[in-house]
């Protein structure tokens, strides 16, 4: 994994009536990391501790190699934070607000203005940035919140539920933007969500917590690539009254193992095979064409992270209604 960006060791946070974090130990490297958990799992509490704003009851944590207990101010100079709640004054423009926040991070006046213009453009705000924030849509407000977290060019950003309140399109745009924060801007990201599904496309690594305890921490490629599966469904013809069977036999003859998709919608008509890259797609297309059958669908059935975690409330909720 290379360098460690965030490391916690047996980190606990106990409030009088709840244990928000329970002996959490994780190592997080550069890239985009998803922090997933149901409501109350302890995600926001972890971020507050990592920013050095709330002392841990027990255990220790480091961010960018700095101890959160003693180096809070140094950490906050190098990281950005986008809170989960609204935090924007409605009566100032995005530009004025972000410039002010840049100066609060120590940027000199000219640099603050230049970086604000750049950053707002990067998050996709143009003319509207001169209008008061009060008139913005939720999606635009989320972009302003993201911009104020990025304006001082941090090494790492904490994004607390950035897709909250967005419609599916807005959500996809925000996730794309988050991906770019790492790929284009070179900034590592810790992003929280209670939706497991949406993070798998965006994150290199996912940490799942439940009730303040670590459920699992692994890279998304671990769960997904190893289980990439093709689902195929074909029509029947007069020559091949059972098209599905014909395809299976033809593929078998070429040394490809095929399972029938029992348990899936349309079971009996769906074939599942492990995709070994582009060749598999070509092979399947050729086989079907040779047999003169029609292809109803051929799609990647990546297992969702949610299916990997069968335990935990969130996982169960999330597993419903998913499956590409």
């Amino acid at each position: 994994m290379g360098v460690t960006v965030i490391a916690t060791e047996s980190l606990s946070k106990r409030f009088p009536r709840v244990t928000a974090l329970d002996r959490l130990s994780v190592d997080i490297g550069p890239g985009v990391t998803g922090l997933v958990g149901a409501n109350g799992a302890g995600k926001s509490t972890l971020i507050k501790i990592l920013l050095g704003l709330s002392p841990a009851t027990e255990g220790r944590a480091e961010v960018l190699g700095l101890d959160v207990a003693t180096k809070g101010a140094d950490i906050r100079e190098r990281v950005g934070y986008m809170p989960e709640h609204d935090c924007l004054p409605p009566d100032v423009s995005a530009t004025e607000f972000v410039v002010h926040m840049a100066r609060m991070s120590g940027l000199p006046p000219t640099a603050a203005r230049e970086r604000t213009a750049d950053t707002l453009r990067h998050v996709g705000l143009y003319e509207e940035r001169y209008r008061p924030i009060g008139g913005y849509s939720t999606g635009m407000k989320q972009r302003v919140k993201l911009a104020q977290a990025l304006v001082h060019d941090p090494q790492l950003v904490f994004l607390d539920e950035p897709t909250n309140g967005l419609d599916p399109v807005g959500r996809d745009e925000m996730l794309g933007l988050i991906r770019r924060v790492h790929t284009d801007f070179g900034i590592s990201v810790l992003v929280t969500s209670h939706l497991l599904g949406e993070l798998e496309r965006t994150c290199d690594h996912v940490v799942v917590i439940d009730g303040g305890k670590l459920l699992r921490s692994s890279s998304t490629t671990d769960f997904t690539q190893t289980t990439t599966t093709l689902a195929i469904e074909v029509t029947d013809t007069d020559d091949h009254p059972d098209g599905t069977r014909a395809v299976r036999d033809a593929l078998h003859a070429r040394g490809v193992t095929v399972e029938d998709g029992s348990g899936l919608p349309g079971a009996g008509h769906v074939l599942l095979l492990t995709a070994a890259g582009e060749e598999t797609y070509d092979l399947v297309r050729d086989v079907i064409a040779d047999l003169g059958l029609g292809l109803v669908r051929m799609e990647q059935r990546r297992h969702h992270i949610s299916e990997v975690f069968k335990d935990g409330d969130a996982a169960r909720k999330e597993a419903v209604g998913h499956g590409n």
Binding site: K48, L51, L53, S54, A73, D74, R76, E77, G80, Y81, P83, H85, D86, C87, L88, P89, P90, D91, V92, E96, H100, M101, R103, M104, S105, G106, L107, P108, A111, R115, D118, R121, H122, G124, Y126, P132, Q148, H152, D153, V169, D172, E173, G176, L177, R179, R180, D184, F185, G186
Partner: protein, 302 residues
């Protein structure tokens, strides 16, 4: 990802601008002290509506004019009539115009702190290198400075006018200096009280009402009680009662130490010994206000 892919068809220009590469920042990061100064100047400007909407400039500017206008008139009269003294002492000016000052504090203290609480901007500040004390000091210093500008400007008008009218230079300079010390103390005290009250409520309307109540109801109660005590010939009581409202507190301090005539009923302010108590109570309130603000914002945190 729609915003990211430049396509020949879709909104060409914007998309292309969007794709100008990310530039990292290698310039200086000026740290806490700079951030505190920036917050101070932003808040001070904000207290006069500068850098904010035209609407938010109206009240503070109006009050500023109302504050300076009487001084201008007095000066004009003094120059025209070749008077040998100003109609009003420097130290009395703020006492006479206390209603205007109270109104200003009531409007601007909530503007300065309630907004950050109401719109939950406070956590954004504390996610940066600045600490609670930086935030509190910047906000406190900004409102105190704004009040000092409001109260010292008319004194400056009087002073310049007095010199134009060729009144005694030494006399006028001493009076002006005493007036400045007095309004500096008043600014610190009123700013502290106003901010403490405003920081308790995120609702601006409540904040305004509460600040007015604290400043004017105490004054009303104190001056009524003082009047009763004076009628009953108990001048000792008049002095001690004066400790319980901000403006009579300032009045007491300046009549004991800054050569001011007392506005207390009967015209007798505190003696020097009593004046020390006045000073201590004033400084105690200022320190107490700072302490309470620190406690308040420690709690707000994230």
């Amino acid at each position: 990802m729609a915003t990211e892919q430049p396509t020949a068809t879709a909104a060409g220009d914007q998309t292309r601008i969007h794709n100008i590469g990310y530039r990292s920042y290698d310039g200086p990061r000026l740290g806490r002290a700079y951030a505190r100064r920036s917050l101070y100047s932003q808040s001070l400007r904000g207290a006069y509506g500068l850098g904010r909407s035209a609407k938010s400039k109206v009240l503070p500017m109006l009050l500023f004019v109302v504050m300076c206008l009487p001084a201008g008139i007095m000066v004009a009269v003094a120059v025209a009539t070749k008077a040998n003294e100003l109609p009003l002492d420097y130290t009395r000016y703020a006492i006479v115009l206390q209603a205007v000052i109270s109104l200003y504090v009531a409007a601007q203290a909530p503007q300065s702190v309630s907004r950050d609480l109401r719109f939950k901007t406070v956590p954004l500040y504390f996610s940066r290198p600045i600490e609670t004390s930086d935030y509190v000091r910047a906000k406190y210093a900004a409102l105190a400075s704004a009040l000092f500008i409001l109260t010292a400007a008319p004194l400056l008008v009087l002073y310049v006018g007095a010199l134009l009218a060729e009144l005694d230079f030494a006399d006028q300079t001493e009076g002006f200096a005493q007036g400045l010390v007095s309004v500096a103390l008043l600014s610190l005290l009123f700013a502290g009280l106003g901010l403490v009250v405003a920081s308790v409520t995120p609702r601006r309307g409540f904040g305004i009402a509460a600040v007015i109540a604290v400043l004017t109801i105490t004054y009303g109660a104190v001056s009524t009680l003082q009047a009763i005590a004076d009628v009953q010939d108990s001048s000792g009581a008049v002095v001690w009662i004066g400790l319980f409202s901000p403006i009579t507190l300032i009045d007491g301090v300046q009549s004991a130490f800054l050569g001011a005539t007392s506005a207390f009923p009967g015209g007798t302010g505190p003696s020097n010994a009593e004046g020390v108590v006045y000073v201590l109570v004033t400084l105690g309130l200022i320190a107490g206000a700072y302490g309470l603000l620190m406690r308040r914002y420690k709690k707000v945190g994230l």
